[in-house]
Amino acid sequence: MVLTKYYTFAKVDILQKLMYIWNELFSGIFITIILFIFFHIWTTIFAGKEVVQGFTLVQIMWYFALAEIGVIAIGEWIDQVGEEVRTGTLATFLLKPMNYVGAKFAVYMGTALYKLLILGLFAFSIVYSLVGSINFSAEHIIFTFVTFILANILNFVLTMCMGLMAFWFEDVSALYWMYQKSIFVMGGLLAPLDVYPIWFREIVQYLPFSFITYAPAKLFAQFNADMAIVTIAGQLVWIAFGVMALYFIYRRGIKQVVIHGG
């Protein structure tokens, strides 16, 4: 019963998006272009070599497919949270028998799953047509899916923390740009961490960014049961830290809300 209302939020959001499914065509075109650029760059880097930094060209392209879906799927939803905090729209949620963060989480996860399906269709088709398939097993798909979901939960928790910083700062978009670029570089969106210098890799592999993009995409490209366990453990630890921070920020922030009548 408690969860039904949040499920309804996610369902309504997906139904709304289905009404405008053609909008997804543009995200699809964009992901196709990105994968096309990466294909050219990495074909040049491979230059006839079978393996580069532990990846084959086929594996690296499937890596990018999942990494890009994860990031493009979410987009810049933080603007909406920042706007709701700044304009006070958030106050209307305080009157409802539901939690603001919970409602946002339901919508966020609904969007992530919906976009995984739609963008996946584009990304996997282009990668398949460029380099062919990689071998999949049932456990491979299940573990990748679980880590993808946990990565999205972690991303939600961290971006929500940033969005709620709007209680204190007028504009949180600059904070989000830096977070987004950290995902690009330290999260392994632009290149798997394996191609970076060892000193850098050893630092960033423990940061939350790599658990959001790199780890699920690497599992997708090169499945390994041990790595799956380590990834899930790492994601759960970071989610736990993130939730504590989110709870603290929300409790402190909500005290800043001043509600006038009318």
Partner: protein, 260 residues
């Protein structure tokens, strides 16, 4: 309007834009720092990638510093002067061109002129990186490319947004098209050849925004300089022609609105 009148109009316009930005000083400063660090992370990525691979088809980290210097400056100038160029589709679709049509100023120039918050950070990054990258004798060519590349980026925005005149709602498609040109400009141009290279020069002209300027700064060629200048001029002229041709099809939105 003559050239002098245009310049005087723009000087007054941008003075007001600047004072408007300064009203929200905290936003301006935080976005300037944020955008600067955002760009630093991009160049840091290329540093990391080239740490192991050294070159990608003849381009090294040094060429990427050229590329990001140009991109930072061009994006900064575009955001500083014409940040509404990629919002033209919405302005047309919602009938808000009425406001610009009713004034005795250049409609297109007035509709795209706007100073965005991100300009400061981009310019700061562009100036810092180019000071570290360029030799003094390269400066004239670099400044010339800032003009040609900005002209191409703005012209592309005008063209893709003006399609709205013909098809109605084209806002999201125009935004995607705008992003596509920019995205291609972020990566080394040396990885393309044959038909792809041709498309990226003459259909989606990302090659002229960063790729060819970097090649020319690396090894100069009169032929490619002439091609770049001619293309930039022709492409910009076409964009202006295309906008005014579309404008004949414009239907007023009959909108009563305050413009802030």
């Amino acid at each position: 309007m003559g050239v002098k009148a245009h310049l005087s109009f723009l000087a007054t316009f941008y003075r007001r834009e600047l004072s408007s930005l300064m009203e929200y000083r905290f936003n301006f400063i935080s976005q300037t720092i944020g955008m600067f660090l955002n760009d630093v992370l991009w160049i840091f990525f290329w540093f990391l990638l080239f740490y192991n691979f050294k070159t990608i088809n003849g381009w090294s980290f040094h060429e990427m510093m050229f590329l990001y210097s140009i991109l930072g400056m061009v994006w900064g100038v575009k955001a500083g002067l014409f940040s509404n160029s990629n919002k033209l589709a919405r302005t047309i679709a919602e009938g808000q061109l009425d406001y610009y049509l009713s004034l005795p100023k250049n409609v297109l120039l007035h509709a795209i002129a706007k100073t965005g918050y991100s300009a400061g950070g981009e310019l700061l990054f562009g100036i810092t990186l180019s000071a570290l990258t360029f030799k003094l004798e390269q400066l004239p060519l670099f400044l010339l490319f800032i003009i040609t590349s900005t002209a191409i980026l703005v012209a592309w925005d005008i063209i893709v947004n003006s399609i709205t005149f013909y098809v109605g709602n084209f806002e999201q498609a125009a935004r995607t098209a705008s992003n596509i040109l920019l995205t291609f400009s972020f990566y080394p141009f040396s990885v393309y050849s044959g038909a792809t290279k041709f498309v990226l020069l003459f259909i989606i002209p990302a090659g002229f925004v960063t790729g060819i300027p970097v090649e020319l700064l690396k090894s100069f060629s009169w032929k490619w300089l002439a091609i770049t200048l001619s293309f930039s001029l022709l492409f910009s002229t076409f964009a202006v022609w295309f906008f005014y041709k579309g404008l004949r099809k414009y239907e007023s939105g009959n909108v009563m609105a305050m413009r802030g």
